[in-house]
Amino acid sequence: MAQLTKRGLIAAVVCSDQFMKLGTAQAKVFGVPDLPLLRIPHPLGGLGMEKVRERADVALPQLFKVIREQRK
């Protein structure tokens, strides 16, 4: 994602609550401190499809917001 961002593409990373610190730190390490992190409730692993859809419902509005803001 860092490489895509550096090439000027709109990119974001889905990140669960518990992994936000790692995601934030890694974005800085890879030179893209403003890389959007789409925050979803933990966990993402070990979920049935219904819960996966719930996570998508949380992530998608954040993604649309990122796209709208970066297109301006």
Binding site: Q18, F19, K21, L22, A25, Q26, V29
Partner: protein
């Protein structure tokens, strides 16, 4: 080459503290530069002495350690080696292990940041392992022996302090493992019926090597009854083939560390290491039916559809991809026990030889003393 005194003038290179071990320990814990146990204070004098066995520029990175991708310069690694309790003679092996881990197949980023309880197991082979008395006998994976304790600990401190493998931020292990304090052994070459690991891998007998494996802690294999190779190997296969192991999904290169007595029984009828690996590849398997329904559907039928989409429930799941992927060593003291070390799975073991900068093998650690 920059001198140590110049490097220490850089901002942040030096911190001041009362000349008292407790005060130093408190400061390091407060800054997060610790494994939670007391350390030797890394004063400039001690770090300088540690660098006596290093002919590199102390300020030039040897490797970068993820997830921070911090520059592991000899200076920084030496400070960690002092903290761990290393003697200067141990320092080249600490650097060697870090270089091996930084090779791409090891997947240092993944092994540092994962939720899985893996940590680098350092397996030393060759004459310098003996010269430095790295234990390969009783309690080889336990406490008491300084070289094993401090070399492994120095590597772990570097992974935390330079690489930022900080629990909850850069090291996301759910439970971790006590092996994260130190995990350093050597092979008991004298009591092995087979060629040592480094020779098997094509290194000369006189080479000293480290093999780094992203392993779990050791799982014991107790067998006081079997009298035949097949008997011992049957017990090993039962310990290896477990559904919760990463190796059941990602394969990789787990380690079977035979105790010398088990090894002698297994080799008693002429079985070679290659034949041991083949036998275990065929017998250390789990029928697909032993996994949960969801595991069968999601992990096997969907994620590995090429192989398992329509596989019968009695299909054997192998614990590594090809027979030779199992790493077999002999280590430990007397007794009817062996140890099995599952791995992160998505990682390959890396072996590196200790060499002079011109490529010659190092025959004695004293050859590396620069002053």
């Amino acid at each position: 080459m920059k001198e140590l005194a110049d490097l220490l003038k850089r901002p942040g290179a030096l911190v001041e503290c009362d000349d008292d071990p407790e005060a130093v320990f408190e400061l390091l814990v407060e800054k997060g530069w610790s494994d939670g146990l007391p350390v030797i204070p890394p004063t400039p004098e001690r770090v300088g002495r540690m660098l006596a066995y290093c002919d590199r520029d102390p300020g030039e990175p040897v490797v970068k350690i993820p997830p921070r991708y911090g520059a592991a310069t000899p200076l920084r690694v030496a400070a960690n080696a002092v903290m761990a309790g290393c003697r200067p003679e141990h320092f080249p092996l600490v650097l060697l292990a870090l270089e091996a881990m930084a090779e791409e197949p090891y997947n240092l980023y993944g092994t540092q940041a994962t939720t899985h309880p893996c940590t680098p197991l350092l397996i030393f082979n060759g004459p310098i392992a003996r010269e430095l008395n790295i234990n390969c006998g009783h309690n080889v994976m336990g406490n008491y022996f300084r070289p094993n304790a401090v070399i492994g600990r120095a590597v772990r401190l570097a992974l935390v302090n330079i690489g930022a493998a900080i629990p909850g931020t850069g090291d996301m292990a759910t439970h971790g493992t006590p092996a994260k304090f130190t995990y350093c052994i050597s092979e008991n070459e004298a009591q092995s019926p087979w060629e040592p690991l480094h020779v098997e891998l094509g290194f000369p007998q006189e080479a000293t090597t480290v093999t780094v494996v992203a392993g779990e802690g050791p799982h014991n294999i107790n067998d006081h009854e079997s009298l035949t190779p097949e008997g011992i190997l049957t017990m090993c296969a039962g310990t290896i083939a477990t559904t919760g192991s990463n190796n059941a999904y990602y394969r990789g290169q787990p380690v079977l560390a035979f105790g010398p007595e088990h090894a002698a029984t297994v080799a008693s009828r002429g079985m070679t290491k290659r034949e041991v690996k083949q036998w275990l590849y065929e017998h250390a398997t789990i029928p697909l039916s032993k996994f949960s329904k969801e595991g069968i559907e999601r992990r096997f039928r969907r994620k590995q559809a090429d192989e398992f989409a329509d596989a019968a429930l009695d299909t054997p799941i192998h614990m590594w991809k090809t027979p030779e992927d199992l790493i077999v060593i002999v280590t430990g003291g007397a007794g009817k026990h062996s140890a099995y070390i599952p791995t992160f799975g998505n990682t390959r073991a890396v072996t590196r030889a200790l060499k002079h900068r011109d490529g010659r093998s190092v025959k004695s650690i004293q050859e590396l003393k620069t002053r």
